[in-house]
Subunit: 228 residues, 2 copies
Amino acid sequence: MRTEHSRITDPTGEPPAGTPGLRADALHNRTRILETAREAFSTTGLDVSMAEIARRSGVGIATLYRRFPTKEALVTEAFSDQFAECVSVVDDALAHPDPWHGFCWVVEKVCAMQAVDRGFTMAFLSAFPDAAAFEKKRADAEHSFARLIQRAKDAGGLRADFAYEDLILLLLANGGVVTGSAAKAPEASRRLVAYLLEAFRADRAAPPADLPPAPSLDLEQVYCPPTA
Amino acid sequence: MRTEHSRITDPTGEPPAGTPGLRADALHNRTRILETAREAFSTTGLDVSMAEIARRSGVGIATLYRRFPTKEALVTEAFSDQFAECVSVVDDALAHPDPWHGFCWVVEKVCAMQAVDRGFTMAFLSAFPDAAAFEKKRADAEHSFARLIQRAKDAGGLRADFAYEDLILLLLANGGVVTGSAAKAPEASRRLVAYLLEAFRADRAAPPADLPPAPSLDLEQVYCPPTA
DNA sequence: CACCAAGCGGAGAACCCTCTCCACTTGCCT
DNA sequence: AGGCAAGTGGAGAGGGTTCTCCGCTTGGTG
């Protein structure tokens, strides 16, 4: 038998078990910190200081830093739920009977998430590129999305020269609109997405294809603004 | 007659006469500072420190600050040329015989300028919203652009529900793509612009107009990221 | 050619930020 | 009930930024 304090050992091996054996009060604090952080990052953006989050959570800075050794760790953890939601949105879209509508749905959904949450936008556009925790999920989502694209093309809804990188292009564009349009972000984002989806349609047969080639974008090599 | 040092009084009342009576060496420094700043802001973005600019210019920080009392002043001055170029691009477009091509031309041109100059993008998207020096020019450009839109609509090239705010939408989107795609910015920007221009065309008769209404964006109320 | 205001450089003030150290308190198990 | 590891808070280190102060240098003119 364990002579140590046999913490909340969490017999269910559930995924978010990032909290191995934590004393009850500590766990409570951790939860509060995460709530505060989510709230703050959502409304203000990623550039809320750690001191501010500690203050709003009613804990000392040291506590915050013991639970989340770096700011990056806190951000990663705070947004992991929404990130997972993104992934599941893609999977839902694959289940949609009409490939083109599935495609539109996922684009609209993810962009709407970006629009409503400033911090998520930044986190998503890999403001912290080495958030290894996201990598696996991102890879999965990429794979699923590639299938979604193929299906939508085959069904004739999506133009044939649509490239996977165009999704990143759209996300970056949407990110710019969202961070740029403040309170009006949701409407602005919706309008941009509507325009772009229209341009992505196959039926409006592409004019002399004067579309420049896709520049092989990669969320990894994305520039991260002055958040660091 | 003036008993003071009768500086370079600049008899030509040329517009950029922001330098009233400056000693020769001082003026030389000022020029060098501006060159350095333009270069630095272009490649690195607006978040180059004043100390760095002073160092690269080979002057002390105090000199830099005496010539440009705030960083904002320096940015404003550094980009005033390119800003003026934007304005003239719009005017050139108005001279173009084909309204739709004129419209496309100005959009492509301005977005290309954004794509090639990271600092200009930030400055343009009013990272410094109270740069009063820009206000007049901006107002002029807005007016000219409104005429351009009307002409393009009348000629049947531009879809009728295009709103002036869509230009801002496009600029913000382009800004996001540019800051997000680092070295590949020019290609990425060109591809985005091609997509959007396609969506703006009138001929591809708008489907059941499920386009959300334009959200009355305004470059004034634009959120400025963590540049300040 | 001498004078002196204009111009200069760099130290440092004041303010942010992230993250660390350490003495004190407290939950939990025996 | 008592012991002790786990948990805590706040001061402060170390880095960044913009911008200021002040004593020294120098261009240009009478």
